[in-house]
Amino acid sequence: MSDSLEKLSKLVVSGKLDRRTFMKRAVAMGASVAFSNTLLTQSAMAAEPVKGGLLKLGSSGGESTNSLDPATAASAVPLFNGHQWGDLLVDIADDGSLENRLAEEFGSSADAKTWTFKIRQGVEFHNGKTLTPADVVATLERHSGEDTKSGALGVMRNIDTMKVDGDTVVVGLKDANADLPFLMSDYHLVIQPNGGKDDPAAGIGTGPYKMMVNEPGIRHGYEKNANDWHGNRGHADQVEILVINDDTARVAALQSGQVHMIERVPPKIVELVKRIPNVEVKSTPGRGHYVFIMHTNTAPFDNNDLRLALKYAIDRQEMVDKILFGYGSLGNDMPINSAYPYFSDDFEQRSYDPDKAAFHFKKSGHSGPIVLRTAEGSFPGAVDASQLFQQSCSKAGIQVEVKREPDDGYWSEVWNKQPFCTSFWGGRPTQDQMYSTAYLSSADWNDTRFNNADFDKMLLAARAELDDVKRKQIYADMGTIVHNDGGLICPMFNDWVEGVSNDVGGWTANPNQTMMNGQALSRCWLKA
């Protein structure tokens, strides 16, 4: 009911419904007159950003080793930083579509091999220089050159040529890719003056806020960019990102009003946080997922029956209930969910079936324990999840030995090295990007050692396919292959769960990244 009431009140605010009709309808829906009135004021306030003030965000995922160089960004705080002082060419809108940023428009040749981005005119960097297409090319070069250390290298590898043509940037690809603009929304690709080649960690860009204080691992302070090209963002005069890695300290900071919003509320304590007055818990379904990954080329996981046995032996619902406390959705042994464009929802959901698991396990001919490596840092609750998995396996007669590894060094020594371990993926804006990052046989991060020639061909075909219906079908077929043959056991997709004070206006959900795709500070405001 309250959903439709909210819709109604928004209609009034936008002038599509008069106040009297709203009241009548709302009361008819069972709301009291006073309540309807409050709703109306709330919506009216939501429509009008309030300017000024100091908006503060408490975040985990910040270290004193962080650099402002967007190329090396790998955790939440550097991601947020990039979105304060900088802009991408295009970004992901709240509905998952593309939104123009420093590119005013973009288009491609019919074969999706040549792409043009028209660069916005009259945009100034914080250092007073005017943005030119040459800056954009330089940025792309820095992230794709031979000697780059950029985390975006993987998505840039397909680019063959880049050049400036008047006020546009022309990008030529080695292989056709209908998703190239989505690749440009990678959060590493912040446009910098001369591409950041002179001083990559200067923190100078075209963003809504100018960097004032940079104390890595402590705080990052910003002041409004009075000269911002974007008309409707940067409402607060100042914003600040406080690094608060300790969960309890972060929640306490929100509770005592020292910050207005916090990134990542641990699912375990969501129910407690909900009881705090003046604080709301926001959860946003995203593309991030927690996984158990098997190397399909290493015994015993090179046997598909064994893989199927393990896939049937995991209780996905139990994981969502006990690990995510309901703040997530069921996984289906592929890295794709309904948050992706071109997702087909006619897959059959695989569920816990000890009999089938036992059947496939017997057929695989394997005997003895299977070693599963895990660490709490591989995803929150990974050790508990591994133990749940161990128990559900034992009911199917499969013996799993859980080996706990230290958090420290997990990504260098265990993940992508050991044949069976826990891990997580943050998801990507498109299916193509997700599959090319981790399931293409030649991908650097092919962490399941998945090698399927048909799958690789289909991936390339889908990339060049501009017909939406055909494309959707190809992706559905690829999903089926991974679902049945892959080394991925995906029990759950996790929601972003964040805590926001009621003093904050303008909050919306964005599926791409946490905290409104990293832009909560510039898109929200402090209510007067």
């Binding site: 031979e146 250390k149 290298l153 691992g217 402590i218 306490a252």
Partner: protein, 318 residues
């Protein structure tokens, strides 16, 4: 006096050697840890090319020994170098952090040391009566609780419920001294509660030990007041063990407070060190290690000197 000077010179020379050994140990330790700085910086998103490029940028392709001696050469000239991970100047970054750490430690010490010693004296005066039991009971209760738990208790009651002090102890350059004190109130209180019991119990035990001497009995027979006996006759003779414990606790306040820093989001050295260890940023770890070792060695040296000065029998050896 010359005896003390020679002692001091000897101690300083040994300290320098110790520091050298410490730096070699830290370097070896960080080399043994799995993964290197390039791998840790790029994390899950490391591609072989990006790794190789980053390693070359950071100079990790040089052999370990030449990196160590290169670093040592810098240190001797007073150059701590730059952090591998984000290229900031280490001396700069450490300077601020060290100031914060020392500020928090001194605040806690200024409260804790006099408080512990006076509580110890009180406990002696009322030995085995209720004030003694109350003091011992409470301080022992606080030392038995893990420090993070004390921190959370203070956050919950003092910061969230009462709203007296902030739960986030971030300090800014622009803060006045009073504002800084306000910001560090809760972490300083936590640390005080953690170190109180150790110093208090040692004071009590040391003085009680002295109280059994014959000259105390004489003082009692002379008719001196109990307080005068404890403060004037017993305390000076019990100073050596007390000073030792106080210095140990002061060293702890500087080098061992990373948990408290994390809970209160205090930008001190501990968190800085831990972040860089997990990223294998050797130059920073080395610099932090050296500073911590210097504090430890220095404070212990001061403790020794004070106990020598306080004890005429050691001051004038036969």
């Amino acid at each position: 006096m010359s005896y003390i000077l020679t002692l001091l010179a000897k101690r300083l020379a040994i300290s320098a050697l110790l520091l050298l050994a410490v730096s070699a140990l830290i370097f070896a330790g960080t080399e043994i840890l799995p993964g290197d700085v390039a791998q840790s910086v790029l994390g899950q998103s490391a591609t072989p090319e990006a790794l190789a490029n980053l390693r070359r940028d950071m100079g990790l392709d040089e052999p370990a020994l030449s990196r160590y001696f290169g670093w040592l050469g810098g240190i001797v000239q007073g150059d701590l170098g730059t952090a591998l991970t984000n290229g900031t100047d280490i001396a700069d970054a450490i300077g601020k952090r060290l100031y914060n750490t020392v500020f928090l430690a001194s605040t806690a010490a200024v409260v804790a040391v006099p408080l512990a010693i006076s509580l110890g004296l009180l406990a002696v005066l009322y030995k085995n009566r209720w004030p003694d039991k109350l003091i011992s009971g409470t301080t022992l209760a606080f030392i038995s609780l893990p420090e993070f738990f004390i921190g959370y208790l203070l956050i919950y009651f003092v910061a969230v419920q009462l709203g007296w002090f902030p739960s986030v102890a971030t300090v800014y350059d622009s803060m006045t001294f009073a504002e800084r004190l306000n910001a560090v109130a809760l972490p300083a209180a936590t640390l005080t509660l953690v170190v109180l019991a150790h110093m208090m119990r040692m004071t009590r035990a040391a003085i009680l030990n002295v109280m059994q001497s014959a000259y105390i009995e004489t003082a009692e027979l002379k008719g001196l007041s109990a307080f005068r006996i404890v403060a004037k006759h017993a305390l000076p003779n019990a100073i050596a063990p007390i000073v030792n414990v106080v210095m140990l606790n002061l060293a702890y306040l500087v080098v061992g407070v990373v948990v408290v820093e994390v809970i209160f989001v205090y930008p001190g050295m501990g968190q800085y060190l831990v972040d860089h260890v997990s990223k294998r940023d050797v130059p920073v770890v080395q610099a932090c290690g050296l500073i911590f070792a210097t504090f430890y060695i220095g404070l212990n040296m001061i403790a020794d000197i004070i106990s020598i000065v306080a004890n005429p029998r050691i001051r004038h050896p036969r």
